[in-house]
C-alpha cells in the first residue's frame, strides 16, 4: 500500500480523499456560519461548542489541519511534477478548445484560496488561539456576553476585507466546480461523469461559496445588531 501512494495514481487518490474531507468540512463550516444571519444566540452557542469541545478541538481540528496542509503540499508537488513532465512549451496552445478554464487553472485558484486561508487565520483563528490557549480564557465571554457574534460582525466592517473574502469565495467556487467531479474520477469512480453528480457538483460549487459571500456581505451591510 505504501508503494501505491508513491505512484502518480495513488497521489491523485490521496489528493481526492483530502478533497472530499475538505468539501465535507465546508458544509459544516457554512452550516454554523449561516446561523449568524438569523440568530446571534444560536451562532454564539455553536461557535462556543466548536471552539471548546475537546473532541472537536483535539481530534477533528488536527485532522482538518493535516487535511488542509496535505492538500496544498501535495497540490504543489503534483504541479511541479507536471511542469517537469511538460518539457518545452508550445508556441501556440489552444487549451480552451478541449478543456474548461477551471480545470486548467486549479493551481491558481488554489493559490488564491491559500492566500485567503492565511488572511482568514490572521482574522479569526490566531486571535482565537491567543484568547483560549495563551491567555487561558475558555469562557468565550466578553463583558458578560458571548463574544463570537460581535467579533464576526466587527471583522466584516472593513470593505477591503469583505472584498478580499468575496473574491476568494468566487475562486473557491471555480476550484470546486472542477474539483468536485474530478475527485470522483481520481478515486476510480465514473460517478463524477454522470449528469446527476455533475449537477450536484455544480450546485455545491455555487451554493457553498455563495453562502459564505452572503454572510460576509450581510454583516458588512448590517453592522449594528
Amino acid at each position: 500500500m505504501a508503494g501505491f501512494f508513491k505512484s502518480s495514481v495513488g497521489r491523485k487518490v490521496a489528493m481526492a480523499l483530502s478533497a472530499f474531507f475538505l468539501m465535507f468540512f465546508l458544509i459544516i463550516h457554512l452550516a454554523v456560519n449561516i446561523t449568524s444571519l438569523f440568530s446571534a444566540d444560536l451562532f454564539n452557542e455553536l461557535s462556543h461548542f466548536m471552539g471548546t469541545n475537546p473532541l472537536v478541538q483535539f481530534a477533528l481540528q488536527p485532522v482538518l489541519i493535516f487535511g488542509v496542509v496535505f492538500h496544498f503540499v501535495m497540490g504543489f508537488i503534483l504541479e511541479l511534477q507536471n511542469k517537469k513532465a511538460n518539457g518545452v512549451s508550445y508556441a501556440r496552445n489552444n487549451g480552451s478548445a478541449n478543456s474548461s478554464w477551471m480545470s486548467r487553472n486549479m493551481i491558481y485558484s488554489g493559490l488564491v484560496i491559500l492566500a485567503f486561508i492565511v488572511l482568514h487565520f490572521i482574522d479569526f483563528w490566531f486571535p482565537e488561539l491567543n484568547v483560549k490557549y495563551i491567555q487561558g480564557d475558555m469562557s468565550g465571554m466578553h463583558n458578560g456576553e458571548y463574544r463570537y457574534f460581535h467579533e464576526l460582525v466587527e471583522k466584516f466592517h472593513n470593505p477591503l476585507r469583505v472584498g478580499a473574502y468575496v473574491i476568494s469565495f468566487v475562486l473557491l467556487g471555480l476550484h470546486l466546480a472542477h474539483g468536485f467531479t474530478s475527485a470522483f474520477q481520481s478515486m476510480g469512480s465514473t460517478a463524477g461523469r454522470q449528469k446527476t453528480m455533475q449537477q450536484i457538483g455544480k450546485a455545491y460549487s455555487i451554493l457553498i461559496p455563495l453562502g459564505f459571500i452572503i454572510i460576509a456581505v450581510y454583516h458588512h451591510l448590517n453592522p449594528h445588531h
Binding site: K12, A85, N86, R92, S100, H178, F184, Q185, G188
Partner: protein, 246 residues
C-alpha cells in the same frame, strides 16, 4: 489556397530548435494536411533546402504515426481524426498555420516534427499483453463467454492507436488515457484477469518512470483523441490499481 506556415525546425535531438516561416501556394482544399506538407517539402527540395521531417505511415488514420500539433491542438482543429485525415478545407485562404511537434519531456524531439514515442512501447512491454499458451492447446477465444457490454467496452479501449495525442494535448503531459486504455482492454476480459494486478502495477510504474505527468481530469485528451478513447478508462485504471494494491 495560399498559406503561411510557422514550423518548428530542429536539426537533431541535441540542437536548439526554432519556429521558421514558410509560404505555400496553390494548395487544394481537398488535400490532406500531410499532402500539403509534401507540397512544401517538394518546394524546399527544389530550392535546395532541407525538407521538414515529419512522421507518417499509413495515411489512413489508423497507424498512429502522424503527430503534429497544429494551431495549438494535437492533430489540428478537427475531431476524431489523425493529422493525415485532416483536410485543408478546415483552413481558409491566407491563414497562418502553426505546426509544432508533440511536446512532452518523455517525447524528446528527434528532428523537426518527429518525436521519440518509444516510452509508450516500454509501457506496453511492462504489462500490455496477456501470456497465452501457444503450444497447440490454446482455447478458442470464442468458447469463452463474454458479455456484449464488456466486449464492446474492451474493443473501444483497444482502438487506441498509441499516437500520443493525449500526452501532447495534456497540460501535464500525462499518459493516463493511453495507459488507461491499455489496462482496460484486458481488465474487461476474462483472458486479462490472470495478470491483471501485475499488469496495472507495472504499467503505471513504467509510466511514472518515463516522466509523464499526473492526470488532473481536464478531459482534453478525450476530446483530442483520434479514436475517442473515453476518460472512463482512466477511472478504471485507477480502480484497477487500487484493487491490486489493497
Amino acid at each position: 489556397m495560399n498559406l503561411t506556415l510557422k514550423i518548428w525546425r530542429q536539426k537533431d535531438s541535441s540542437s536548439k530548435g526554432q519556429m521558421v516561416d514558410y509560404k505555400v501556394t496553390e494548395i487544394s482544399e481537398h488535400m490532406s494536411f500531410l499532402e500539403m506538407m509534401d507540397v512544401l517539402n517538394e518546394q524546399l527540395v527544389v530550392k535546395g533546402e532541407e525538407p521538414v521531417a515529419f512522421d507518417h505511415d499509413c495515411r489512413e488514420g489508423i497507424c498512429g504515426m502522424c503527430s503534429m500539433y497544429i494551431n495549438g491542438e494535437a492533430h489540428g482543429p478537427d475531431r476524431g481524426i489523425t493529422t493525415c485525415q485532416l483536410h485543408m478545407r478546415m483552413f481558409n485562404d491566407g491563414d497562418t498555420i502553426t505546426i509544432e511537434p508533440f511536446r512532452a519531456a518523455a517525447f524528446p524531439v528527434i528532428k523537426d516534427l518527429v518525436v521519440d514515442r518509444s516510452a509508450f512501447d516500454r509501457i506496453q512491454h511492462a504489462g500490455g499483453y496477456i501470456s497465452v499458451n501457444t503450444s497447440g492447446n490454446t482455447q478458442d477465444a470464442n468458447a469463452i463467454p463474454i458479455s456484449k457490454h464488456a466486449a464492446d467496452e474492451a474493443m473501444d479501449a483497444a482502438t487506441c492507436i498509441g499516437c500520443g495525442a493525449c500526452v501532447a494535448t495534456c497540460k501535464n503531459s500525462s499518459a493516463m488515457l493511453f495507459v488507461g486504455a491499455k489496462v482496460s482492454q484486458y481488465a474487461l476480459l476474462p483472458q486479462g484477469q490472470v495478470e491483471a494486478a501485475d499488469r496495472v502495477k507495472n504499467m503505471v510504474a513504467q509510466m511514472d518512470l518515463e516522466g509523464f505527468g499526473n492526470c488532473t481530469n481536464t478531459g482534453a485528451c478525450e476530446v483530442e483523441c483520434p479514436k475517442g478513447i473515453s476518460l472512463d478508462n482512466i477511472a478504471r485504471m485507477n480502480r484497477e490499481l487500487l484493487k491490486a494494491s489493497i
